[in-house]
């Protein structure tokens, strides 16, 4: 039920900001997510940032896909 997109933070001021994906920018609210900064990637749903994306975990997940190749 959740069209939510990973977007990069371009600007933040208080609890509002601008995020970007593929070059398209959109205004977003950070009311539900503090402790983020410009350059971070966040999941955006219905105009709100709802969670920060953990790059380390993302790389781990991608690594897991690669590891499967050894067994195939």
């Amino acid at each position: 039920m959740c069209v939510a997109v990973p977007m990069k933070i371009k600007r933040i001021k208080d609890d509002k900001g601008v995020v970007e994906i593929g070059g398209t920018e959109r205004g977003v609210s950070f009311k539900l997510l503090r402790d983020v900064q410009v350059g971070d990637y966040v999941i955006v749903h219905a105009g709100f940032a709802i969670q920060k994306l953990d790059e380390k975990e993302a790389l781990e997940t991608l690594k897991l896909f690669k590891e499967l190749e050894q067994y195939s």
Binding site: M1, H45, A46, L53, D54, Y71
Partner: protein
């Protein structure tokens, strides 16, 4: 696009698919996903087709639009007919059929109904139209609820007294429990990744313990879903049912505490009617007394027509995964996306719409 493209890599996909084939063997395994966006992603990437035949993917009631009862639509329709009301809604609701009309039909008649992408836009409309009552149709699960709750907090703090929400919000845990006790034999739940970014993963443990159903919290990209299926297969084959988080880059065990606080600042659990499933206790969210000035139900009176359920519509059974769309006598003939009878056909993620659109071969 970062965090999207690398999770759609086709070589990696083939590798995972081969692993799935190898691990599954002959075992019959049934997965249920309960998130409409998962339904759509599975159909869009064509995942069922590449899986071995003994893996079955069924759709549960994960589409908040589909499980919204006729009565709610009728209520929204009645509100829209008032001259002093502007209805603001996510696009998903526009075509859902009520007992005798739909928001789209009312819009065509000239009633003021506006599609928004966020409650922030609805607040903006309320600011610009101080003489009108702006009603936001609050539909959606835990991913969406915090955004609606935040809008109510903002309306209260800014004394934006012409804004209100008509809540039909629902929560996943009780629904998943109900499904676990139902007739359909589920081996693994593919758990909703974005709901989980808010709620965290604690709840799913009770599904494993009480009902013996394994849980994999899954992301939405091609590789996420494939990996989640592989993880689920391994759980079943190794007889090691547990809660696993595939979507670690976005889901933390504790979820998003701030978002959860926001929800429960404004709302509280209530019983809710799920189309096709009936009343599930504590599965809905109602606006608290302190916020009743911004609760459409408490603020605006309208006469709502008597609810009429469409004859022969088996949305309820489809929502529970008991039947598949082609088994409905209306499917594809008098129930089509252009002219839907039941909500499963309307919502872009409804099982019937996904089936119809992508015509699973």
């Amino acid at each position: 696009m970062k965090y999207i493209d690398e999770f759609r890599n086709k070589e990696a996909a083939r590798t995972i698919i081969n692993s799935i084939r190898r691990e599954t063997g002959e075992k019959q395994i049934t997965f249920m996903e309960v998130c409409g966006t998962h339904t759509m992603s599975i159909a869009r990437f064509g995942i069922q087709e590449v899986l071995p035949k003994n893996i079955r993917l069924i759709s549960g009631p994960g589409c908040p639009v589909c499980v919204t009862p006729n009565h709610y639509i009728d209520h929204a329709v009645a509100l829209s007919r008032r001259e002093d009301v502007i209805i603001t809604t996510f696009g998903d609701m526009m075509k859902v059929p009520g007992s005798s009309s739909s928001l789209e039909k009312e819009h065509i008649k000239g009633n003021d109904i506006r599609v928004v992408g966020s409650t922030l836009e609805a607040l903006h409309i309320a600011e610009k139209n101080s003489k009108k009552n702006v009603v936001f149709l609050g539909v959606g699960f835990e991913t969406t609820v915090p955004t609606v709750a935040a809008s109510l907090m903002q309306a209260q703090s800014e004394k934006l007294n012409n804004y209100s929400v008509l809540s039909a919000h629902k929560t996943m845990p009780e629904a998943m429990k109900a499904l676990s006790q139902g007739d359909v034999n589920i081996d693994i739940f593919i758990c909703p990744g974005h709901v989980s970014t808010i709620t965290g993963t604690k709840f799913y443990y009770s599904l494993v313990e009480e009902f013996g159903i394994g849980c994999v919290v899954s992301g939405f990209e091609l590789l996420d879903i494939l990996q989640s299926i592989l993880m689920g297969v391994k759980q079943v084959v190794q007889n090691d049912l547990k809660v696993e988080n595939q979507y670690t880059r976005a889901v933390k065990a504790e979820g998003n505490p701030r978002a959860l606080e926001t929800i429960y600042e404004v709302m509280e659990p209530s019983d809710a009617v799920w189309r096709g499933l009936g009343v599930i206790p504590d599965s809905g969210l109602a606006i608290k007394e302190e916020y009743s000035s911004w609760n459409t139900e408490k603020r605006i009176n309208v006469d709502i027509e008597d609810t009429v359920e469409p004859k022969g519509c088996i949305c309820g059974q489809i929502l529970q995964g008991k039947k598949i769309p082609p088994q409905c006598k209306h499917f594809g003939t008098d129930c089509v996306p252009d002219n839907p009878i039941g909500a499963c056909m309307v919502s872009s993620e409804g099982a019937c719409a996904a089936y119809f659109k992508y015509k699973v071969q």
